[in-house]
């Protein structure tokens, strides 16, 4: 089976716990007030800091949320806590840009793209990714490296260009970067290239000489896009670095790399706040296909540590049985095991939510991207699991360890499946049980990591 139900459920638990914590103090009030949001805001502040949003940005954000929350009516079926968390999420998404903004290459060709950033942030790889995207769009693309400093940086770009199916303009480490840029621009003009992507060496914002160099490259190339490449794992210093690059280069956009990791990526908000420039793409893998348009909504939820589960709950909380989720959470807390009955209940909930495909849309991008398309058709499997569990006696559901060969045969016959299917289900259940145990002390990132090991089709 896909096992996607387990992808979903523990996160719901996690969210329930978080919400419960925040909501508790402010339940049953019709308006958000200074007093009733105080604790919740402190909680949000910690969440943002733990996600590496820079402190000055956190402060600014909390004040903005406080201001817009005060007096807000709590509408409909929402509790005040949900209303506040919803507001935090929306505000975060809004600050990160609302809708996605793509590359703007509208200019007299060749359109030049200049890559800039710290050492190791992902410039060269991203240059290749963009080249591949544009080439797929029938653009004639050339790549050139002005990184004459790092050993084998030029060879790296050359290999990347070949993988991307783009043209490569040769350069040598003995050359002057500005001369390389001039030559490449000439080359692109005379050969009618649509796009020239210029890779540069990584540099520190306080390296005066190197910052002057990239400003000069900018002056010579007059790029239509000047992209600041940022590592999603970057911490508090991001505001200083972004401010310094923005001051020296007219940046037109930002690309956030390594989002396939488990960093919460608060740097997205920091950089956006400091530069005001749109985050155009997210890097989600080492291979050249690993690039996606940036989604502020998903990023906001990720920074808050909730995947896109928030949105999921907002939309569907009428349909989910929060009491049921809470029952399982309580059971776990009391130290009692997660049994097959619970497993079945989870699956039933999942069906209410619209099945695997609908859920996938709501999962954190990095996770959803790793689920194979084959699994999308797997709602059938869910029914099969239900069938198997239904064929068990209550005693068997409570204590699967009693399931020996003869009982398994009976169950398989009852559900109309081969015995292996029963075994497979039991295996997956066991692993899920382990994860549920971990959840108790648990950290979502670690859990997700482990989950990927369990579920087939997750890379």
């Amino acid at each position: 089976m896909s096992g996607t139900s387990s992808v979903y459920h523990p996160m719901l638990d996690n969210l329930t716990a978080r919400l419960a914590k925040i909501v508790k103090q402010i339940r049953g009030e019709a308006r958000l007030t200074e007093a009733n949001i105080q604790d919740a805001l402190r909680e949000v502040r910690v969440a943002l800091l733990e996600a590496d949003v820079a402190l000055p940005v956190v402060k600014q954000f909390i004040e903005a949320v406080r201001a817009s929350a005060l007096g807000e009516e709590v509408i409909g079926s929402l509790t005040p806590g949900q209303a506040l968390v919803g507001l935090v999420h929306r505000e975060l998404a809004r600050l990160m840009g609302g809708a996605n903004v793509g590359l703007d290459l509208a200019t007299q060709p060749p359109a030049v793209i200049l890559m800039a950033g710290l050492q190791g942030s992902g410039k060269t790889t991203t240059a290749g990714k963009l080249a591949k995207l544009l080439a797929a769009d029938k653009k004639k693309v050339a790549l050139v490296s002005c990184d004459v400093y790092r050993p084998a940086a030029i060879e790296q770009l050359k290999a990347v260009a070949a993988q991307a199916g783009a043209d490569f303009v040769e350069s040598k480490s003995g050359e002057n970067p500005v001369d390389i840029a001039r030559r490449a621009l000439e080359h692109a003009k005379t050969r009618y290239f649509d796009v020239l992507i210029v890779d540069t060496a990584g540099r520190l914002a306080i390296d005066e000489e190197m910052m002057r160099e990239i400003a000069e490259l900018h002056a010579v190339l007059k790029p239509v896009e000047t992209l600041f490449i940022v590592d999603a794992m970057q911490g508090q210093d991001a505001v200083n670095v972004a401010r310094a690059f923005d001051a020296r280069l007219p940046l037109t956009g930002v690309i956030l790399t390594k989002l396939d990791g488990d960093a919460r990526g608060g740097v997205a908000l920091s950089v956006r706040q400091v530069t005001g420039k749109p985050i155009k793409f997210a890097g989600v893998g080492e291979k050249l296909g690993g690039i996606e348009p940036f989604h502020p909504e998903r990023m906001a939820a990720r920074i808050l540590g909730m995947g896109d589960i928030l949105g999921l709950v907002e939309e569907a909380h009428a349909r989910i049985d929060l009491d049921e989720a809470k029952r399982v959470a309580d059971k776990l807390k009391r130290g009692r095991g997660f049994d097959l009955e619970d497993f079945k209940a989870q699956i039933a909930q999942m069906k209410k939510m619209g099945g695997v495909a609908a859920l996938l849309d709501k999962l954190p991008a990095q996770l959803a991207g790793q689920i194979s398309p084959a699994q999308l058709q797997d709602d059938r499997q869910i029914r099969r699991i239900e069938g198997i569990i239904n064929s068990m006696t209550p005693a068997e559901r409570a204590d699967p360890s009693m399931l020996k060969a003869s009982r398994k045969r009976r169950i398989a016959a009852g559900a109309g499946v081969p015995v292996q299917a029963v075994n497979q289900l039991l295996n997956q259940f066991e692993q899920m049980q382990k994860m549920m145990k971990m959840m108790k002390g648990g950290n979502m990132a670690r859990m997700l990591r482990n989950m990927k090991g369990v579920l087939p089709g997750l890379r």
């Binding site: 970057q234 210093d237 488990d262 090991g453």
Partner: protein, 301 residues
Amino acid sequence: MVAALSWAARLKAGLARTREVLNTPVPVLLARRRVDESLYEELEAALLQADCGVAATQAIVSSLRRKKLEDGEALRRALKDALAELLLPLERKLEITGARPFVIMLAGVNGSGKTTSIGKLAHWLQLQGRSVLLAAGDTFRAAAREQLVAWGERNAVPVIAQPSGDPGAVLFDALGAARARGAEVVIADTAGRLPTQLHLMEEIRKVKRVAAKAQAGAPHEVLLVLDANTGQNALAQVKAFDDALGLTGLVLTKLDGTAKGGVVCAIARERPVPLLFVGVGEDIDDLRPFVARDFAEALVG
């Protein structure tokens, strides 16, 4: 201790620049001031902005509050002491023991500075009179092999590489070559990987097992390379790589920038893996042994 001094000086210079930008010069902030609530708040802000993390920052600030100090200068000294005390258990020297060859393996996320650190480490070891051989174990990233070969040339040490895509086989080969040539130390490069890539975490475990099979006791050091620019995820990296490999040490790179690497405070509290070296630039001699006191000094001025 010329090296340590210039390192501290360099760190300080970098940090001074940060402070200009941040507008929160810690020493100025503390000196000649009465200790009051706002001062603690500023201190807390400085630690958070150095990436110390919420938990470590709160622990440090509450320990200072308990001291009930009255003047800023005393508070500044107490802060430095508290940091140095926290970081001291991380201080450890790299010792090349009797094993021949002595095998050092580097691991870490993408772009953290593994290959560059190997180039610097080779230089550092040669200065100590050790003969070194490098193993080009990053068989994934474009031109990663060429990058290491360039560092081999700079150091005039052999680099063992293969056209094959199997990092274990490369290391196996390198150990054989080291024995044949009598090289004392083998440093193995590996491809960058994120802990979320379970298959790659499994791959690097296998590389380690291959080393052990090729030579009992190897690898003798498994070092995780961390980028000082990294925020709280660095702690997750330490935990994940330690769980997978059993780390013996850390290297913290890019301290020549404005990032302060305060996340080591969180690491010291939650997963105290020794920090052997810090990277302070892209040149061959930009590697320094970690000195807790100097680091604490540089962190808060």
